[in-house]
Subunit: 367 residues, 4 copies
């Protein structure tokens, strides 16, 4: 059964394995008339590239995107946009050993049980490289969202026990710190923690937070396709995410209604809420406030220290995973979270346009 | 855009408003040959009924299900199963006032912004009564899952700051305690807390936990339709849920890889994991261990104490919400969580059957 | 696998068996704000009712529709519209015999092979009564289309070898003739033919034609969801249809390009085509001309004369089908064809609105 | 709105324009474990290549397929299969003129009206080259169908007024005749007709017939996703098709029930039908007989003779289309029809496996 396609109006289909010839995506249903260049997409892809810092794997790849279809004379044509990134650094030798056993914390065992075998090279389809297609699609969606006045901004909120200080929050900082933290001090502390984990042949988890501004109230479809439900699917579908929160999230379950309810108010110029415990979503629809979502990532399962597991024959063994691995996936995952949020929001904002008969009737009256 | 249908093989469509004539669901694609009676479904619906205890609203409804189609001579026929529950207790007068303002913490404002107006009676479509359709569908899915050896068991894990003690865990207890807690002592403490909240004209949140056993490794589709991604959508689509966790969830983001990885082992009779930090899901597929998911519910937004908000004309006002309201939705939401998990798991288990060519080839060889 | 749901923006789900408690549909995603009454829907349902003439079965049913949800204060609310028609005339005794054998030309054998058993009462799910849900949904879609300036008009073009004369075409006539022909003379001839077929214990087929005006150029999605592709699915999904034509259809395959091409022209006031061999569809999109589609119906398979077949045990037998059967389904199928066209066109017209970025950007600019 | 994706279990997404960098498809959900090589796919693609005969355009392209993902060690992995064919022959100069006007019989006008502009090079997305993705996907589906005992065989039945003689039918002949006719004599006559049309600067239409054997009774989903409904969508979605017939098709509408009904019989070894007017489909499900479907193609709209039309500015003009054009698309469309049938049948055969609870229960019992 198909599972690599998402979205309703805009359908994004990703394909490709870590060590295959290439990876990419097809974006079907994107509206015509948006100016898009390979540079627009590359900028997003560069944010998920393995960096030069110790926070991320030393594997070097250019991950250059090629537009194969759907864009003509610099504009989207309304037909499927096919994007491709070639795999240029395929040191398959590093991975030959892992064919024989199941790495703890990885999808290896599930793939073999489901499909009878697996492309074991670098994790195959379950590799983080699969997100290249998501980020390429996210770049295009984000460009249209920006024109619509919507801003999607994700950043690292914490790594291990190092959390950012919101008083030091600077949005641009997240684009230059190796941890993608918007707080340079926290970044330094986190980098030290990462270095220590690497030395200990261990790994770390962390939290990515995403804030979306400019979404008017009413976006999201009641019941199963609620805004928070689809954001949760989108975020939880990213490898290594183990929890998702909207607004106050878990904390909301511990406080009282009188503390958690946000009062609506007319501040003279427009309707707003005095507080935003809801994280911008009520009843599955945007409420006009900033949308706040958090993704909790587990520590990288590929660690260099000795681990117990079983091999293909079902024998208990111990292993030492070799190869290039990020001690923490969070910094590179920031743009993936941002991309998945952009995809989801744009898709629901398009659905929202035809929620009432009036815009439908007037569109065709003006034809 | 449609948003009240979910599932791939089995598609469940819910309909109905709190104070309309009836509520129900249509289940399309359910396999033929399962014995189902109205009693099977009623048993589930009774678990979400307003109880006699102080934990839940005093509104009394029989919520009797009628099977209108899709079941013949006591068996599912493979064609759409239409289920209906009539609304018998429609004290609309209680709700006439709320037509004029937006209740904090509710979907009222979003509905008006999206659709231009709303069915304000008892929350209309955004009422918790919408879940009747989900639970009716969940009952049928659960019956088939049980035959397949899969058990889905949800219960209240905490209300406010009262958490269950796993040493006192008794699965049957959850079916008789008014809080749906599987620990009678915690239940008593939670009931006292609820009574206090009601007296204070306030409300409480809490946590529902769901455990699913008997799912072999490999269930779930890679990338967007991962088992945890679809479970998250399913759970977050329930009103009042603000966070979802799989396995160690948020805690996984704080510990190290060496602590979080679960070692596979062959215990002599079968493959298992020494620990279950993963909550039974790795790489978006079941890993053969118990699946553990938690839903965090915010406190009921309808509280009797005075609140600030705006009216339809955009004026700042204060309100006092009247009518019958649960001081905590968690006890009645337990069976909703269980139902949504059952739907999601069964649907993915059906998809999983044709993941390889062998069962397809042999099905038709034997024809 | 689900197969009783259709549409993308507006999803219609039909349910119910010929002799179950009721039949109906759920319409999810219909835009908010359309005035709809039960009378609007009843008018369409009355067009598919068994008539008083010899053209149709003598079975009498009121087929009264009830609106259960999705309409509040006379307007669609944007949430699922649930419609129900009770089965009041269930002479099941008539059908008990057919449980034991497979009627030629019917779905009986396929159902048993697929599902292991079937609801044999009156054809169960494969009965023409299933179309009640389609027609109810079609009534609502047609009402919105009319406001949008789109008219969908179906009628009987031929029964057996009696064809209408376009010189005598009168649109209102089709609503009063028992054959649904728009030509009163042809109607009389066709009625005589039907009477003869009934006397001979035989049945007839025929052709329904549907014309859709007011659709601007560009409606339909390239490739798989072409306007003609989705219309074909919609029409062929009606029981007894064996062929579908667009415009010149089959004849187009026999003539030359120079004869078949329609020249575009600017007639001073707007762009049009000098001829309409294309039937209003080019490259899968509307071309601005009238859309013309034809559905070819086979003769009713239930005939009173003796037929050969097999029984459930696989023995060769001869049968005589009893009960009430239309000697021709075409007159009652006209409104079904019209409804399926209305559903398909409206759904694609909604999709078409967001084909370019401009209406998306301006919708949110004006928020 | 997305329109370039089809299928339910196996979802095929095609992308690419006639003169873009490449065309291709992504096949998501194909079951794991099928042996597939590029040669398997190339064999199908070669059948739609412009030939050396006068029947088809003189444009030469290798149309070599590259597998980019989803196949590992020669087997499908269960993850998305990405296939790519580079455009090597891009004589864009030929097409620059057509940017300024709307070709009669083409999608040009619709594209401009829908999207505001179009990729005019060689028809862009509306070019017949779009079918490369369909045929590549069809090759893979056909390979699995063959193993399952299902054979899908399409051929040219007629071109203009030249029809094949079934007494001379030879299945292999269709693979070597330039017209794809299975009758060498008819092929010669058709080739003469084509040559004449070319000399007259005109073009021809024709009929492709497809026969599918080995499908047991019960395949197809009742109501909207009927086997014939989905086959009709699949076939009508091919450019230039204007009519679709199942079995006796149009003729069925002209005869009587006693003539059209096929008697079931037990011939001693198995259940069959004495005749096959139904074309192997009853009530939307396969009935166990050979499935017969016909696609009626209009004549190629690109003709060399002078035509009237309008230009982009809405002025009436006359044009002479230059460039390479098939005088008839039918021979190259045969493999496209075969591919679309293969896709549709395989997808529904997979759905059919889980129509009853028994195979679901036993699959997991055996785990």
């Amino acid at each position: 059964m198909s599972g690599s396609i998402t979205g309703k109006n805009i359908r994004v289909s990703t394909w490709g394995e870590s060590h295959g010839k290439a990876l990419g995506c097809v974006i079907d249903g994107f509206p015509a008339g948006l100016d898009i260049t390979e540079e627009d997409i590359q900028k997003f892809l560069d944010r998920r590239k393995p960096g030069t810092s110790t926070a991320t794997t030393s594997r070097k790849e250019d991950d250059l995107v090629e537009i194969l279809s759907g864009i003509f004379e610099g504009k989207t044509t309304g037909t499927p946009i096919s994007l491709l990134v070639k795999n240029t650094s395929q040191r398959s030798a590093d991975y030959s050993e892992i064919a024989s056993y199941y790495r703890p914390g990885h999808a290896d065992y599930g793939y073999d049980q489901k499909y009878g075998f697996r492309d074991y090279r670098g994790g195959g389809r379950s590799s983080g490289r699969e997100t290249i297609g998501r980020v390429a699609a996210g770049a295009i969606c984000s460009k249209l969202l920006n024109i619509m006045g919507v801003k999607v901004c994700a950043y690292t909120r914490s790594i291990g026990d190092v959390e950012i200080d919101y008083d030091k929050f600077d949005e641009n900082t997240r684009l230059i710190t190796p941890t993608a933290m918007p707080d340079a001090d926290a970044d330094k502390k986190a980098m030290a923690l990462i270095e220590k984990a690497r030395e200990e042949k261990d790994s770390l988890g962390g939290v990515v937070e995403c804030r979306i501004t400019g979404v008017p109230a009413g976006v999201g479809e009641p019941v199963f396709d609620k805004l928070d439900a689809l954001l949760s699917q989108a975020i939880m579908s990213i490898g290594a995410v183990k929890a998702v929160e909207i607004g106050d999230g878990i904390n909301a379950s511990k406080i009282k209604g009188s503390e958690n309810n946000d009062a609506f108010e007319n501040n003279g110029s427009h309707i707003t809420k005095k507080t935003n415990h809801s994280g911008g979503i009520l009843g599955g629809m945007s409420d006009g406030s900033e949308i706040v979502i958090r993704a909790y990532f587990k520590p990288t399962p590929s660690i260099a220290s000795t681990q117990e597991t079983i091999n293909n024959s079902g024998e208990n063994i111990t292993i030492n995973i070799k190869g290039r691995h990020d001690p923490v996936v969070v910094p590179r995952a920031v743009v993936v979270v941002e991309s998945m949020c952009a995809l989801t929001i744009l898709d629901l904002m398009i659905s929202n346009i035809t929620s009432t008969v009036d815009p439908i009737i007037s569109f065709y009256k003006n034809k």
